[in-house]
Symmetry: C2
Subunit: 136 residues, 2 copies
DNA sequence: GTTCGTGCAAACGGTTTGCAACAAT
DNA sequence: ATTGTTGCAAACCGTTTGCACGAAC
C-alpha cells in the first residue's frame, strides 16, 4: 500500500520490500508475535527476507516507536502493535497473550510510591480464558 | 543451618552442599538475581558448584515453589524470593528491580474481564527511582 | 561514489542436556 | 542395586554482528 510507504517515510524509515512486509505483518496484528513468528509470516510475502533483516527491522521499528517489545514470556520477546496503553492477560494453558483495554482495570497508586517516578505501568494478569468468551 | 536442611526436606528436596548454597543465596535475598548472579555468589560458598547444577537447582526450586521466576527483563529470567504476592518497579536507568508491597497499589478489575479466569496478577511499573528515596 | 539496506554465516549469551562419575538409600 | 546428584562439555535457541554485495540517492 502506498499509504504504508508514506507512513514509514513519515517515521524516518526508508521503505523496502522487506520492511513493508514486516510492517504489514506486525502492525496489522492483534496477536503478540515473536520475532520468529514475524519472520515466518514475512517470508510468505517476501521470500527473500532473511532472519537478520527481520530482526533488524523489528529493532528499527522499536527505535522509531512503531512497535513496543514486551517481556511477558520466558526466552523470547513479543511485539505489541501498539495502539495506546493497555494491559495484558496471559492464558496459562495456551500461552496466548490478550490485550486488555486500559479502562478495564483501575489502578490507584498509594502515596508511599512517591519514592518512584513512575513513567508507565501495566497490569499483567495470568489465568485461563473462559471457554465461551467473546471476541478479542 | 540445620533448619534449612529441614526446610528443603519438607519440600521434598534432598539437601546437598550445592543446594544449600543456592537456597542460602536465593531465599535470603531481597534482590532479584539472575541465574548467573546466583551462580557467582554460590561459588564463593561452594566453589565446586557448576553452572549446570545452579540452573538445575533453580528449576527444582521453581518446581517446588520455593522461588518464582519473573520475566521482567529482556534476555534473562530473574528470581523472586517469594514472600507473598507483590508488585514490581523497574528503574529504567539502572535496570534494578524493586518489590512494591501489595497494598501500595489498589487494582479494581472491571466486569468486562469475566471472560478471563484470573489466577494472579501483578502491576509492573517503570520509571526512575527518586534520589533521596527511603529504604527497600 | 558514498550511504544505506540486505543476505549469509558466524558469533553470542542465557539456558538445557547427555553422559560418565559418584553419593545416598 | 537402584536411584538421585553432580561436573563437564556440548548442544540449543533466540538474537546480534561482521562482512561483502547490491540498490538508492
Amino acid at each position: 500500500m502506498h499509504d504504508l510507504i508514506m507512513f514509514l517515510r513519515e517515521n524516518g524509515i526508508q521503505a523496502t520490500p522487506q520492511r513493508l512486509a514486516v510492517a504489514t505483518v506486525v502492525l496489522g496484528s492483534r496477536t503478540h508475535p515473536t520475532a520468529d513468528n514475524v519472520w515466518q509470516k514475512v517470508r510468505k510475502i517476501c521470500p527473500t527476507a532473511s532472519r537478520a533483516t527481520v530482526y533488524n527491522t523489528l529493532n528499527l521499528f522499536i527505535e522509531k516507536k512503531l512497535v513496543k517489545p514486551q517481556f511477558l514470556r520466558e526466552g523470547t520477546v513479543v511485539f505489541d502493535s501498539l495502539a495506546g496503553p493497555h494491559h495484558h492477560f496471559i492464558d496459562e494453558a495456551t500461552g496466548r497473550i490478550y490485550d486488555v483495554p486500559w479502562d478495564a482495570v483501575k489502578v490507584r497508586l498509594d502515596e508511599s510510591l512517591e519514592a518512584f517516578d513512575i513513567h508507565a505501568y501495566q497490569v499483567v494478569m495470568r489465568g485461563r480464558r473462559r471457554r465461551n468468551a467473546p471476541k478479542n
